[in-house]
């Protein structure tokens, strides 16, 4: 980055690209060229900045000015005001919602204040399609160090001492996993990177691969060195075209630079990486299922042991780690195990990336030290609940996790505490819910997901989850009984106790945790046939308040099924037998005359 005076970084994550960030880049470049500034200022497409809520995001360095919700048409102003005249473009600056002050620098934005970026250290700072930028930020230094200064067992020791645990959900100690695989005697071993992110609402692995693919490549090579493997495989979702493309570019650049291939850095160590594609099966996040999928079969898990570290891909010892886990490795080597283990809590070291989403003000990708509380994440980083609504619950761990409530907000987040609280870390989805969310429907939503994604191999997951879902469906339709609640509990516990793989063993968690924390809400459904959150269609109806209705006919004109009748300037009426409860009238009414009862 040395030769240019200034850089304009434009977020090229999937979210911002969906809001035309590519066009912003093109427009910026064109404007700079027209002003003959293209040699002074470089425009870079980077990985995700994390602040997706306010995307597309543009940052100008070295002064760190942070522009949010930028449109392609803003490019001219950014160049003219900021670059040419040297003053920040006021109208695009982030406004602190608490005091409405404009904030120029990322460091002063609440969203970033409490974050510690290790796995995401380069996301939003480097051009992921340029290996030199990665190298410029100490990239491949760790690999060089390992190959020349340390023996494999010394590297494993560092990882063990750092306390790094698997970020994919299980939390198994990474160093120990490497050690076990390293001790297997075999002429061929494999390093597998699990990039089959499937948790609906989590996108950290994709963001890392899009924003900093080299960190994963470097870590896989280090892992290969440690366990004695010279072949790496990245198993990635085919639905991630941008990540795949950037990974491919990174792989070819690394090979060109001799950082992959034969005799890496002249040390005699060979390592190559191939890409394998997932095809839309959540269960393939499970190691054994992933391996079967890579072998060209149905992604059905098999009983462990044997563990992949003993018998994995093509029957060979295989070390499987997920993207985020790998992304931590080079920093640990560079900065030392002590540094890493100084961050985090007693048994969970370092940081965790979360995809913060749902009814929170600042949706985005965040990285926080382990041990931070949910309250800090949701209210400080997340900026609290949208539209001034009341916080109700937060689901961590995706479909495998549970709903945590007000009482859990001050628990320090780590692997063990979340399990104790009835949820789990999972891959890092964090969905915030407010008072409008029906917890029975939420449980049903997650069950629907598990149902869709169950491989069908074992009885409890195949049929048990189906029955769970059916009972929940009954309850949301007002046809449930209190006995059904008992049945939910019993069945949930048996499914947890008897399922073959992690998917089934955790699938009832959303049901059990909502039953535990929101029993009242379940009871309201089964006893009174009411949905307190007003979400369950079959239990609610839309009504027009005659006192508030002005007869503007807007609802009448927008009703898709003709359920609303009434003359202009007279009170309107909804025919409940026709109404499909789509809520359009409710959204359209300007006089709050339509209510949900």
């Amino acid at each position: 980055m040395a030769e240019n005076k200034m850089h304009i970084l434009v977020c090229g994550g999937t979210g911002c690209r969906a809001s035309q960030s590519e066009q912003i880049v093109n427009n910026l470049k064109a404007e700079l060229e027209s002003q003959n500034l293209e040699n002074d200022v470089r425009v870079l497409t980077t990985g995700c900045f994390g602040f997706c809520e306010k995307g597309p995001v543009v940052k100008v360095v070295p002064d760190n000015t942070f522009y949010t919700e930028v449109k392609p048409s803003d490019a001219i102003d950014i160049v003219n005001e900021h670059i040419v005249k040297g003053r920040p473009l006021q109208r695009l600056l982030y406004k602190n919602p608490k005091n409405n002050y404009k904030v120029t620098n990322t460091a002063s934005i609440d969203f970033y204040k409490k974050q510690v970026r290790i796995a995401l250290r380069n996301c939003g700072f480097v051009d992921p399609e340029n290996i030199d930028e990665y190298i410029g930020r100490d990239g491949y230094e760790a690999l060089g160090k390992c190959l020349s200064d340390y023996s494999p067992s010394e590297v494993i020791d560092i990882i063990k001492k750092s306390g790094l645990r698997g970020r994919g959900g299980g939390g198994f100690p990474t160093g120990l996993k490497w050690e076990i695989t390293s001790k297997e005697k075999n002429d061929q071993k494999y390093v597998v990177c699990n990039a089959d992110e499937g948790d609906p609402g989590a996108f950290m692995d994709r963001s890392i691969l899009e924003g900093d693919p080299h960190s994963v490549i470097e870590a896989m090579a280090i892992c290969g060195y440690c366990i004695g493997a010279n072949k790496g495989l990245v198993y990635i979702r085919a639905e991630y075209p941008l990540a795949i493309n950037r990974l491919k570019i990174a792989l070819s650049q690394a090979s060109e630079y001799g950082l992959l291939g034969n005799d890496i850095m002249g040390t005699g160590f060979d390592f190559d990486i191939e890409i394998r594609y997932g095809a839309g099966a959540f269960v393939c996040g499970e190691e054994t299922a992933l391996i079967h999928s890579m072998e060209g079969s149905r992604g059905e898990p098999t009983f462990k042991p044997p563990f992949p570290s003993v018998s994995g891909y093509l029957g060979k010892p295989t070390n499987v780690n997920n993207v985020e886990t790998f992304a931590n490795v080079p920093v640990i080597i560079n900065k030392g195990a002590e540094w890493f283990s100084s961050i985090g809590s007693e048994n969970s070291k370092g940081t965790k990336v979360f995809a913060l989403a749902g009814k929170v003000n600042n949706v985005g990708l965040i990285e926080v030290p382990m041990g931070i509380t949910l309250r800090e994440v949701i209210f400080d980083i997340g900026g609290g609940i949208r539209n001034g609504k009341k916080f109700k619950a937060v689901q961590t761990g995706g479909p495998s996790g549970g709903c945590l409530t007000e009482k859990d907000l001050d628990i320090p987040i780590d692997y063990d505490n979340l399990i104790k609280a009835g949820s789990m870390m999972g891959s890092g989805g964090m969905i915030v819910m407010d008072e409008d969310d029906c917890m029975v429907s939420i449980a049903k939503f997650y069950l629907e997901f598990t149902l869709d994604e169950s491989c069908g191999k074992c009885t409890p997951c195949r049929i048990g989850n189906k029955r769970l879902h059916e009972i929940l469906d009954k309850i949301t339709k007002g046809k449930g009984t209190e006995q059904d609640l008992e049945r939910l509990k019993l069945l949930s516990n048996v499914i947890k106790d008897t399922s073959l793989c992690g998917l089934g063993q955790t699938s009832p968690n959303p049901v059990l945790s909502t039953l535990l924390n929101f029993e009242d809400e379940y009871l309201a459904h089964v006893r009174e046939g009411k949905c307190p959150a007003g979400q369950c269609k079959d239990l609610l109806k839309y009504e027009i308040d005659p006192d508030l209705c002005t007869g503007c006919t807007l609802c009448y004109r927008n009703c898709p099924v003709g359920a609303i009748s009434g003359e202009k300037k007279s009170v309107h009426y909804i025919d409940q037998s026709i109404c499909i409860k789509c809520g359009v009238c409710f959204q359209k009414c300007k006089f709050k005359a339509i209510s949900i009862v």
Partner: protein
């Protein structure tokens, strides 16, 4: 001697792709990806040919195709619509949006409109959670979609085709 009919293009394509992967049965999923990318879908005849080229049973190929939601045996519409049903989108009303699209197009998830214009699918998290709820039409992302926007979005593509014809 059962006969299976295929176009010359498809036959050569499948054979080339399989050959590229050394006709290795372990590469089945990669082969299916590439073939679907080119042909848009994976009809039974194509699967039979892939099975023959990789020397595996057609049953296995079909077992794999039906396991992974990414693979489809039906041709997609001109404008494939995907509604993100990730959790972030769900809690921001994706289900209602999906219902509205179903109602407008009179098709269910996994189906294509009779005129071949639209096909509808639900997918899990496109990772644009900041824009939730998200609807993809082809490659284009429509963010923060409310039920009332559905008609407008669909009209964009419907009218687009009309003007093409004119």
């Amino acid at each position: 001697m059962p006969k299976i009919k295929l176009t010359e293009y498809a036959t050569n394509l499948v054979k080339e792709i399989c050959a590229k992967f050394n006709n290795n049965e372990g590469e089945l999923i990669n082969v299916l990806h590439q073939v679907q990318n080119k042909l848009g879908y994976l009809p039974a005849e194509i699967q039979e040919l892939i099975a023959q080229e990789l020397n595996i049973s057609a049953a296995k190929v079909y077992g794999v195709v039906t396991f992974y939601s990414y693979f489809t045996m039906k041709p997609q519409g001109e404008f494939p619509i995907s509604v993100c049903m990730g959790t972030a989108c769900y809690v921001r009303g994706a289900e209602q949006v999906l219902d509205e699209i179903k109602r407008q197009l009179r098709i269910d998830v996994g189906e294509t409109t009779p005129d071949g214009k639209f096909s509808l699918s639900a997918l899990r998290c496109v990772g644009a959670c900041g824009l939730a709820p998200v609807v993809l039409v082809g490659e284009k992302v429509h963010g923060r979609v409310a039920t009332v926007d559905v008609k407008k979005i669909l009209a964009e593509y419907k009218s687009g085709c009309l003007s093409d014809k004119e």
